[in-house]
């Protein structure tokens, strides 16, 4: 932890050098730290969306959960509105930071009605004056996410995946947070429903001015909703840039391969753009390659890549890339 780190007051959320190591049993006695997030830094302005993309297992969920302190980070500084987030301050910040989960099935308690699920944050923070007030708040939340108010007394298992995700979003909105971590909030949904839910996220942002950390493994989904995008690989950020800039001008070899994997709507452009097929698998986070984490799969790898770890450097206009040869 860097006690002298000065957060920038412009940012709503600021993460500096976040490290999250999980002790993993290897062999009979020893444990090895699994570096799920290793030196991640980024910042989000009020009302802004930062997209976080990367293959599954690269540590996106870990970053999101450490950020709202579901995990206690191994190292690093997290600031919310310039205030350091730690065990002491988190209690007072719970109202302002919320999360929407990936799995629409396991994220809602099967023994609770929709009303009680959405009302739980209100109950915890005692945010109502009377039962009627509580109900009014819940109904207006349901309306906000496009749920039928008549269904307030129903149980979650009676709803479809998309509707369940809306219930989860209403729950996250209940305390009027300024920041929501959306961890693959649309990945489990059908493509047509994905679009509806993403549009709803955008509408809610326009109405409420809430900021998102929008996690997904699909660059296309993230491009649509994000102002800025951070690309993650094996626990590290490899490139961050404005959303359009990143799509038009990807610099890091990993980002390029991610973008080339996105199906293009127009067959003519699709033909002319060469797809970069990544060879090999993602290395195990327990056996991290030396130097650049991407070098085992990189076409441009040189000797230097194996020796030294590239740091994020600014390539102009806030386009940050961690690569020696690009």
């Amino acid at each position: 932890m860097d006690m002298n780190y000065k957060p920038n007051p412009e940012y709503l959320v600021e993460v500096n050098n976040l490290k999250m190591y999980f002790p993993v049993k290897t062999g009979f006695f020893g444990t090895t730290p699994l570096k799920a997030a290793d030196g991640v830094s980024f910042a989000i302005r009020p009302g802004e969306t930062l997209g976080l993309v990367g293959e599954s297992g690269c540590g996106k969920t870990t970053v999101g959960r450490a950020l709202i302190r579901l995990y206690k980070p191994t190292d690093g500084d997290i600031f919310f509105e310039g205030k350091r987030v730690d065990d002491k301050s988190i209690g007072g910040l719970r109202k302002d930071m919320q999360m929407v989960f990936q799995d629409p099935y396991s994220s809602l308690n099967p023994r609770m009605t929709v009303e009680d699920i959405i009302g739980e944050p209100l109950d915890v923070h005692k945010m109502y004056t009377s039962r009627a007030d509580r109900r009014d708040q819940i109904l207006s939340l349901m309306e906000m996410v496009g749920l039928n108010a008549e269904h307030a007394t129903r149980y979650a298992h009676e709803f479809s995946g998309g509707q369940r995700q809306r219930i989860g979003i209403a729950r996250a909105l209940a305390t009027k947070p300024k920041f929501i971590v959306c961890d693959e909030a649309v990945s489990a949904l059908d493509v047509s429903i994905q679009a509806q839910v993403i549009n709803m996220f955008e509408d809610l942002q326009r109405q409420l001015g809430v900021a998102y950390l929008f996690i997904a493994h699909d660059l296309l989904v993230v491009h649509h909703i994000s102002h800025r995008i951070a690309v993650m690989y094996l626990g590290k950020l490899v490139e961050t840039a404005d959303s359009d800039e990143l799509n038009a001008n990807p610099v890091h070899p990993y980002t390029q391969s991610l973008l080339s994997a996105v199906p293009l709507p127009d067959p003519r452009t699709a033909k002319s753009s060469k797809r970069i097929i990544l060879e090999g698998d993602v290395p195990s986070p327990l056996k991290m390659p030396s130097g650049c984490p991407f070098r085992t799969r990189c076409r441009f790898a040189t000797e230097q890549c194996a020796k030294e770890m590239p740091q994020l450097t600014d390539r102009g206009n806030g386009h940050m890339v961690a690569c020696w040869n690009k």
């Binding site: 308690n109 739980e120 944050p121």
Partner: protein, 359 residues
């Protein structure tokens, strides 16, 4: 929006085309749209479970059997004018001839008394070798056996749930140490332990006087202690496993993100999602305790005479098995009925309420 669906604007169908003729379609009215939106009747988990249970004939049959048995053991000792411990008396005189009678048979003295105009309550299941009414003894024995079963299962429930939920909720090193202790206890041969403990406790514990404890005898008390010491481990493992899985669910994380404290999370999220499994397994514990008690009584480590239990009745009936077969049949039938009913009911409850079997 509506314009696009205007029938007049639809392209005319080419008669040779295999395409669907769009003009044959009508726009859904608002009412029809609403119909598609209506969901089935809302059911709570409990209501849904009860409905499933009511549809299960075996479970319903078991409930009926159990209710009948419970009615019997509460009503019989009140209605039948004999006591489980005293020899039958006629006109204040002990009836020495009323031993080992068949069902509905009267002794000489009783017959005489009836002929003189007196009334004698029939011996529905006959009498035993000391001249005690067997029906009352079987009813009392059932009472004791059920009591033992329920009591043992409550002990197991309390200890197992407390121990298992502490291990499961706190996890880590606490869990590791607590579960190794469980493993050790689990690996002990339980019947051998019960027999050894009963023998030892018999020497250590001595109850005098007239209290229920003294009447049950030290054997029963040691049986409860043994249940408390040994049989909770299965329950503890079950509860811990349940809590570990439930803790993984994202709704628990969501509650944490909302700022809910541990007590609220346990109360609102963890307990309601594992309570049915716990209760089902406690219900299944009852017949196993009854069976153990019967077994111990059978090898004369059970309740203290003259208090009967189903096991001790069966054991006593062994000597005259060829001549007085009915004396073995009645308690054995009772044990069989009770264990079968509880097992079937437990299975029915599991089918109806176990969340893993639904969706």
């Amino acid at each position: 929006m509506d314009k696009t669906y205007d029938i007049d604007q639809m392209p005319k169908k080419n008669p040779l085309s295999m395409q669907i003729d769009l003009s044959k379609f009508e726009k859904a009215t608002d009412e029809e749209k609403k119909q598609a939106d209506v969901m089935s009747e809302s059911t709570s988990f409990f209501k849904d479970g009860m409905r499933k249970l009511r549809k299960n004939p075996l479970a319903m049959f078991s409930i009926v059997v159990l209710v009948l048995i419970i009615l019997m053991i509460t009503i019989v000792p009140v209605v039948v004018p004999y006591s489980y411990s005293d020899i039958i008396t006629i006109n204040g005189k002990r009836d020495k001839s009323a031993t080992n009678m068949a069902p509905f048979q009267y002794s000489k003295l009783e017959q005489q008394y009836i002929d003189e105009g007196g009334k004698v309550f029939p011996h529905i299941m006959g009498t035993d070798e000391l001249g005690r009414d067997y029906f009352v003894r079987v009813a009392y024995g059932t009472r004791i056996s059920l009591l033992v079963g329920v009591f043992a299962s409550v002990i197991v429930l309390i200890i197992g749930v407390l121990y298992g939920s502490i291990a499961g909720y706190f996890g880590g090193k606490v869990d590791l140490i607590m579960m190794r202790i469980v493993d050790v206890i689990y690996s002990l041969p339980d019947l051998l332990m019960i027999i050894l403990l009963s023998v030892v406790l018999n020497e250590v514990l001595k109850f005098d006087g007239q209290g229920i404890l003294a009447r049950l005898g030290t054997n029963m008390i040691s049986l409860f202690i043994v249940f408390g010491l040994l049989y909770w481990v299965g329950m503890a493992r079950l509860v811990r496993g349940q809590i570990l899985t439930i803790k993984q669910n994202e709704y628990v994380l969501a509650a944490q993100v909302s700022g809910a404290k541990s007590s609220r999370i346990i109360r609102r999220h963890i307990l309601p999602n594992c309570i049915s499994v716990i209760i089902i397994s406690a219900a299944l514990q009852i017949p196993s305790a009854i069976f153990t008690e019967s077994f111990l009584s059978f090898i004369s480590l059970g309740v203290k005479a003259p208090m009967p239990s189903l096991g001790s009745l069966a054991s006593a009936a062994r000597s005259g098995i060829t001549t007085y077969t009915y004396k073995l049949i009645f308690p054995a039938l009772m044990i069989g009925l009770i264990t079968l009913a509880f097992n079937l009911l437990g299975d029915g409850l599991r089918d109806a309420f176990d969340p893993k079997l639904r969706r």
